[in-house]
């Protein structure tokens, strides 16, 4: 397929997984996964622990080997040149003396950090920290942050990439109420403003139903995918989680849309 055809085929698609298979130590972790992530939307991957959600994101990021194809076509040139990534948890050496400001600068500043962080860079990272309500962390040591603080700093780092595709692996795990608000409402707002595509893993079905525009239900295979109302049926949830999930439609489905401000809740977005 040449490029114009490709672009045509993926006109509304930011990422498309085509028969992606990942095998690790003889175990099929992803089995022939075919799924798509609509451009400009918020796609949620849900599934039980060990379903292969993180694996799917790592395959997209080119971090692990896979069979099949992943086409990332975020922009009109048919590429995703800037990706922001918030990992499930960051394993790093907490003894390393690095400040949050330095952490935010080290991916983009050219001048070596031993001459300090440039002024404009400091302003920039402070602005990004402010957008996740964490300006007070700027001078702190990275190794001394709490789990939720770290998640916020990681989101600031990802946003600083000015991403076309924002990949979040359980971003709201361990953050407080305000943090959940940031990770959902703030990102909804930013997405509308900047028009990036969001792909996230979440275990919180309420968040998913309120904020996602597209859902991929994964348990090694894709059990279902589509807009939340269509994908999050009792049958599908029972199929992937193996238990009855009656709470979903009674409590958090956005039928009484008053509590929901996410874009998925308006009817026209669903279609």
């Amino acid at each position: 397929m040449n490029k114009p055809d490709l672009l045509d085929k993926y006109a509304d698609t930011a990422v498309s997984f085509e028969s992606v298979t990942v095998e690790r130590e003889g175990i099929l972790i992803l089995d022939n996964v075919t799924a798509m992530v609509p451009r400009g939307g918020c796609t949620a991957i849900i599934g039980p622990n060990g379903a292969g959600k993180t694996t799917m994101l790592l395959a997209l990021l080119g971090e692990i080997q896979y069979k099949g194809f992943i086409h990332a076509t975020c922009n009109i040139n048919g590429r995703c040149s800037r990706i922001g990534y918030v990992p499930q948890r960051l394993t790093f050496d907490r003894g390393m003396p690095v400040t949050v400001t330095e952490f935010l600068a080290m991916g983009i500043q050219k001048k070596p950090l031993w001459f300090g962080v440039r002024n404009d860079m400091q302003k920039r990272s402070l602005a990004h920290l402010a957008s996740v309500k964490s300006e007070h962390l700027a001078k702190r040591k990275l190794g001394a942050l709490s789990g939720g603080e770290m998640q916020r700093v990681l989101l600031a780092l990802a946003l600083q990439q000015e991403p076309e595709l924002l990949v979040l692996d359980e971003p709201a795990s361990g953050v407080d109420f305000q943090g959940e608000y940031i990770f959902c409402e703030l990102l909804d707002g930013l997405r509308k403003e900047k028009g990036f595509t969001q792909l996230m893993v979440s275990h919180d079905l309420a968040t998913v139903t309120h904020h996602a525009t597209h859902v991929i239900c994964l348990n090694h295979k894709v059990a279902a995918q589509g807009p939340p109302r269509q994908a999050l049926t009792n049958e599908n949830l029972t199929a992937i989680f193996g238990m009855h999930m009656g709470m979903v439609d009674s409590r958090s489905m956005p039928d009484g849309s008053a509590i929901c401000s996410g874009p998925c809740c308006s009817k026209d977005q669903d279609a």
């Binding site: 990534y85 003396p97 600068a105």
Partner: protein, 288 residues
Amino acid sequence: MPDLSTIYQIISYILPFECLKAGFMQQAMIGLILLAPMAAVMGVQVVNFRMAFFSDAISHSAFAGVALGLIFSVSPHWTMPLFGLLVGLAIMAVQRKSTLSSDTVIGVFFSAVIAFGLAVVSRDRSVARDMQRFLYGDILTISNNDILFLLILFIALLIFQILSYNRLLYIGINPTLAKAHSIRVATYQYYFAGLLSLIVMFSVWAVGVLLVTAMLIVPAAAARNFARSAGAMFWWALLVSLTSAITGLIISAQDWANTATGATIILVACLWFMISVIFSFIRRDSVS
């Protein structure tokens, strides 16, 4: 032979010690002033990447490097750094491709190069005596050509560090995150492994196989305790390594000490480290 006499004059002016009047001492001083900061700065990243064992393996490939020189009758001056470079890049490649843990991969290489070196050396008694030199190091026999080569390496390293200090830190924190944010992780890792191998081999000259890792790790470890930021860590490592190298060399030449230069340098650096540990305890107490 390159003319370095002006530098020697400057040295004897700044450090007016009796022992630094001798030519070989001046050469040793220059060699150390070039080598110590290189080792320290690379050491900052060695500590961040947890690559201490890697550098240990490279330094032990010195024997095999010299042995290769003997077999092909090429000067060990060439075979040693080249072989080190080869081993370093090979370890990096296998480590990146294999699912084995990195210390297992390095352990295998370590055993292979040691065994090869010993096998060749054991054939020839006279060579075995020569090998002592690599165990304990011999900065006092450094030649002007070595110094010139060190100078070139120094400039290469300076350029490399200016271009990649920030990115290497990023990779040191988390390579997956760095890669996702479009840092060319593999390229940086290979360049780093290559340069590190060369520097390790030259450090073998100065302080010997047994103490090379100390020369990389100890200043960086002390710097971690002193520094509050990644930028400061760089300067602290430089300070600790340079002061240790200069005082170590001077002390070792005093009549009352008369010790091996390499070992003396490392001892001074370890003293720095102890101070840094106390310093970090005091700071922790005053913060909490």
